[in-house]
């Protein structure tokens, strides 16, 4: 048994801090069950403010967990997001760790 991981089986350093943040966890939860969603839908479902959502979107995109596609519909900007394979794997891994201590 690897005693450095305690009885939980993983260390605090192994927790993905990108996913661990509650707002980003909410965003990834929404995107995980969909094939994509726009900015307005994410804002409606998560209850985050525009600025907050935008900031977390950037962090997730920088981590490679979501893909952001910006386009114009007529004259209005429209942003679509989808979770990447890397994002799904990170999300699954995080949930598995949390379930190991919560279930």
């Amino acid at each position: 048994m690897d005693h450095s991981k305690g009885t939980v089986g993983w260390t605090v350093e192994e927790v993905d801090r990108i996913v661990h943040e509650p707002a980003r966890y909410m965003i990834l939860s929404v995107l995980y069950v969909l094939e994509g969603a726009d900015f307005q839908f994410l804002r409606t479902q998560t209850g985050l403010t525009k600025g907050n959502l935008s900031s977390h979107m950037t962090k997730l995109e920088d981590a490679g967990y979501v893909m952001v596609k910006k386009e114009f519909k007529g004259k209005k900007p429209h942003t679509m997001l989808r979770i990447t394979k890397k994002g799904r794997k990170a999300f699954d891994g995080y949930r598995k760790k949390m379930r190991s201590i919560m279930d």
């Binding site: 929404v30 969603a37 307005q40 959502l53």
Partner: protein, 191 residues
């Protein structure tokens, strides 16, 4: 997908039904059905269709703009297709009954009313199940009740029943619409 994520997906899907527009749509249909019993003129059908199309357009332009857009999973898309075929089947069955009636091969009033009422209830229940919108069962039950009462017990009560139920549906729909518009402000997106 585990159950908690499954529940999340269902709840998100159900948010599209929170705007009261389906209640208004069904209420308008029922009001038109009641009015058609009194004013037997083709113009009533045109007015009814126009109102129904108006409600559908408002849902697209008001509701969906406020909630936003999602690309649903293939599992959800297949449920939507099932729902579409269910509604199509119900419409085909109704059309067949009408054709049989025109040909003189129709059941007696009681059997006819019960068959149509049953079909409506089953269709509305199925739609309610797929859309996670319980009020469809409520309106389906009341509509079935109105048809049965009208056909079997008291033909004169038909228009009144449809007006009453239709008005209740429209009023409730507007109540939910006001709450929805207050909760979901339209925003300018941050680039």
């Amino acid at each position: 997908m585990d159950r908690s994520l499954d529940r999340l997906e269902k709840r998100m899907w159900a948010t599209y039904q929170q705007d009261g527009m389906w209640d208004i749509f069904l209420g308008v249909l029922m009001l038109m059905m009641g009015l058609r019993m009194i004013i037997d003129h083709w113009i009533m059908t045109v007015v009814g269709l126009t109102l129904v199309i108006g409600v559908v357009i408002i849902k697209k332009m008001v509701t969906e703009k406020r909630i936003g857009m999602a690309s649903w999973s293939s599992k959800r898309r297949s449920k939507k297709i099932t729902l579409f075929f269910l509604i199509l089947l119900a419409n085909i069955a109704t059309l067949l009954l009408i054709i049989l009636s025109i040909m003189g091969v129709s059941p007696d009033r009681v059997t006819g009313a019960l068959v149509i009422g049953g079909m409506i209830l089953i269709t509305f229940s199925a739609i309610s199940y797929f859309m996670y919108f319980w009020r469809f069962i409520l309106w389906g039950s009341l509509l079935t009740f109105a048809i049965v009462i009208n056909e079997i017990l008291d033909p004169d009560s038909g228009p009144l029943m449809f007006f009453f139920i239709g008005s209740a549906a429209v009023a409730l729909g507007f109540y939910y619409l006001v709450i929805f518009l207050r909760e979901h402000q339209s925003i300018k997106e941050v680039i």
